[in-house]
Symmetry: C2
Subunit: 488 residues, 2 copies
């Protein structure tokens, strides 16, 4: 890739005039802070960082960048796990961190309108006293922001029952690459027109920059019942998950950890979990009568599937500790390995046990270890490939194994990302996941929103391509144009 | 609108060769059957009807029409209530009625892959013995087809708890206007790439023709509890709905009827419902313990809100009769009025009582009667404007009142359609619902899929426009193009 034109000082001055000098970063040392997101390799220092404080200021930034022909990279809290906010060379990073106001709460109709920089957990905190919460719960929910959640269509442990971010965004105000401001969706059910809101959620910063989101709020469930179960291997744990779902039970969350993930979580938290082949952590929530019934039945099925031990927390503090073990498992892996890759693939729930065995076989063949800690209920695997970057060639071997795991997910009828997005990291696999016609259809939509490819270029699509370059069948046949002229 | 060029006999011959002569209708008498859908005014006889039997045959029809510059109008079962399948002059209707196979059932992972001509209720029938069903339930579910449901993003009484069609379509195979075949979505959770499946569902035949849909199946709930409650007026009924939802209860369905709708339903079904100002019909479903608890609490709230009487059906037969009364209410209105218009607007749930009072006032002012029978839980009104077409000027007055009701929905923070679509009937109101920038964004996407506007032209968009005619800001600035060339 050749380098973009350096951002001129004229552009920096224009932005400083529009946003105020304090909200444009041009100092090389400060810029390095923005060189990566949660994926720390491939760091690229941007040319500038702009911190707009309002929709109007985002429009100013977009117009200035477009007129100068400089690409934009939108950025939330920078916790993403696919390199989606990694700057492209010569780009302007648009940080939404200053836009962190909760603009409106309507509890009668159950929604909150917020700016993109609001932290996920702060939405729930703002309405907790009234008995409401915001459902999508990435493990990073204490630090990640709503704008990033919208861009990545973030999930979390409780998305099994409650759905992903896309199921909880009712409307969004979005700045497009031409500087226009559009409102997609609305708080009422099923808005007319194309469902472009759904296309915008999860579009990873390529279609526009959300400057407001209207979020569906839910009533807090009356009770939550949790249990932790251990198994000789992931085979029995997988059978328990299948059995619970097949019985018509929809847990609020059902998470699986394998031996290596359990070892890591124990090392990090001091939990007294036993050394076993696999563990499940399940939440059931709802009204008391329902939950007691469901939890009892799920425990019965888990026991029949071959559980070694089933622990029910004595109180909320013990429950929180169990969840802390699960939620810290990613970071905990750092205790047992100097480096690791986080993968994020999806497979049909019925394939879990087979795919985990296959991953184990592939890891052994590559001479590497893989820890698995994941959302079992919706088949969203998170294999963590452990390696030591100090050993020559080991990083490359880990990356190759990660790629082979993604291919295994595709072959098993699943996909290359469940909730972390494609970003910079997985763009190369899109051509294996999708047929050329499918990618071409996405490309058409990208071009409809951003013909000059200035919004987060180099992400998601496997091959950068100009919007003029359309393959044969897309060009209208002359007869079409003639027929059209006659009709209108 | 000027007429399209007559479909040449060469085109009819090409289609007959591709589909077999029995599957191309050119006889004027037979063509008249296809002149309208559930909206019977504005009939327009198409030039031809093609009945393809496979994805490949749909591609043949699309290619033949495009090369001849003739518009296409996709058609499911023809039960739509917005004129979405009304032929445009000189068009070819593409009926999917022959494609009615259930292609694959995967109950372990909970989905069915079906052709678009499959009748909605037949999906549930195919899996009922195994304890599963397909949730979206338009009142027409015994006759409407999945392809039409996908095109219109159909709802139904139980969509309050279970969501609209868009929440139950996991994947679709779609033929685009250039003849390419694309697969959108997939059976695994949260597919990567833009969520174009959501944009396709509800796109009313303008973006492509679905030839396969993969539908999410649900386990049948263990029990359903139903009650019917009467009230002095819609004020108390509205308060009961708000109270139930505010208590954190999510009914499977909660339907409201006003005095006129009750009178009509009684006349049609012989039900012994009392003459009251309003009635609610509510379903709670789930596991037994939960449902008993929820139903008892909802009844308590309904009584406190001012219910006159609460009836719990003694058995499934009586329950079915109550639902028959509700589901036949539309048609039943024909018993008390020679003609009527079906409107379909959405308002915030908290506005129901106020908006119904306002509709009553507007109807009195226009000298017309309006019956209301609707999905109260999600604020999806169905005002039926009664009139007698034999009285000069009354039809126009009814249409004007219908329009004013839609404007009232927009002003109240709602929208012009909840589940029937925009189609031909409401295209004129889109410019009142949406800002020019919002419509322009939809237009960009339409152009990305169908640059020659051959797919169901004249529907949804208020002003037909060529895809070349883009307003100023969309054209890339020369600097953008220069910047781009330097980057890649």
């Amino acid at each position: 890739m050749t380098r973009a034109p350096a951002v001129s000082s004229a552009l920096a001055r224009r932005l400083a005039a529009a946003l105020g000098p304090a909200h444009v970063i041009a100092d090389p040392a400060e810029l390095r802070v923005y060189a990566c997101d949660g994926i720390t390799h491939g760091r690229t220092t941007p040319a500038l960082v702009a911190l707009p404080g309002s929709t109007e200021e985002v429009v100013e930034v977009v117009n200035a960048a477009r007129e100068a022909g400089v690409p934009l990279v939108p950025r939330g809290a920078g916790t993403g796990l696919s390199g989606g906010a990694r700057p492209s060379p010569g780009s302007i990073v648009v940080s939404l961190a200053r836009m962190r106001r909760i603009l409106e709460l309507d509890l009668e109709n159950g929604w909150a309108r917020v700016e993109p920089g609001v932290i996920n957990l702060d939405v729930s905190r703002a309405v907790a006293a009234a008995g409401w919460y915001y459902a999508p719960d990435p493990s990073s929910q204490g630090v990640c922001s709503i704008g990033g959640n919208v861009a990545e269509n973030s999930g979390g442990a409780h998305c099994l029952k409650y759905g992903f971010t896309t199921n909880h965004v009712l409307a969004a105000r979005v700045v497009l690459s031409d500087g226009s401001v559009v409102d997609l969706g609305g708080p009422a059910a099923d808005a007319p027109g194309y469902d472009l809101l759904a296309a915008m959620v999860g579009s990873e910063g390529l279609l526009g920059i959300a400057t407001e989101a209207t979020l569906r709020l839910l009533r807090k469930p009356e009770v939550t019942r949790t249990f932790f179960a251990t198994f000789p291997s992931t085979d029995e744990a997988g059978a328990a998950v299948s059995g619970i779902i097949a019985a018509g039970i929809l847990p609020a969350a059902i998470e699986m950890m394998d031996r290596l993930a359990i070892v890591a979580a124990k090392a990090a938290t001091g939990l007294d979990w036993p050394d076993v082949g696999a563990a499940l952590l399940m939440d059931a929530d709802g009204c008391r009568a329902e939950v007691e019934h469901v939890a009892a039945r799920a425990i019965e099925i888990t026991r029949a599937a071959g559980a070694l031990e089933i622990r029910v927390p004595r109180d909320e503090a013990e429950r929180q500790l169990m969840w802390k073990g699960r939620k810290s498992a990613f970071a905990a892996v750092g205790r047992i390995s100097p480096n690791y890759l986080v993968e994020d693939g999806v497979i049909p729930r019925s394939e879990i046990a087979r795919v985990l065995r296959e991953i184990e076989r592939m890891a052994a063949e590559a001479g590497l270890r893989v820890a698995n800690v994941f959302h079992a209920g919706d088949g969203n695997l998170h294999p963590l490939v452990l390696y030591d970057a100090r050993n020559p060639g080991e990083e490359a071997r880990a990356a190759a194994l990660g790629g082979e795991i993604l291919r295994l997910c595709i072959r098993s009828g699943g996909s290359i990302t469940g909730e972390h997005g494609v970003g910079a990291e997985k763009a190369a696999y899109m051509a294996e996941q999708f047929a050329p016609e499918d990618l071409e259809t996405m490309q058409r939509v990208r071009c409809a929103f951003d013909g000059a490819a200035l919004m987060n270029p180099g992400k998601v699509f496997p091959t950068p391509r100009l919007c003029g370059e359309r393959p044969g069948p897309y060009r209208p046949h002359p007869a079409e144009v003639a027929g059209l002229a006659e009709r209108w």
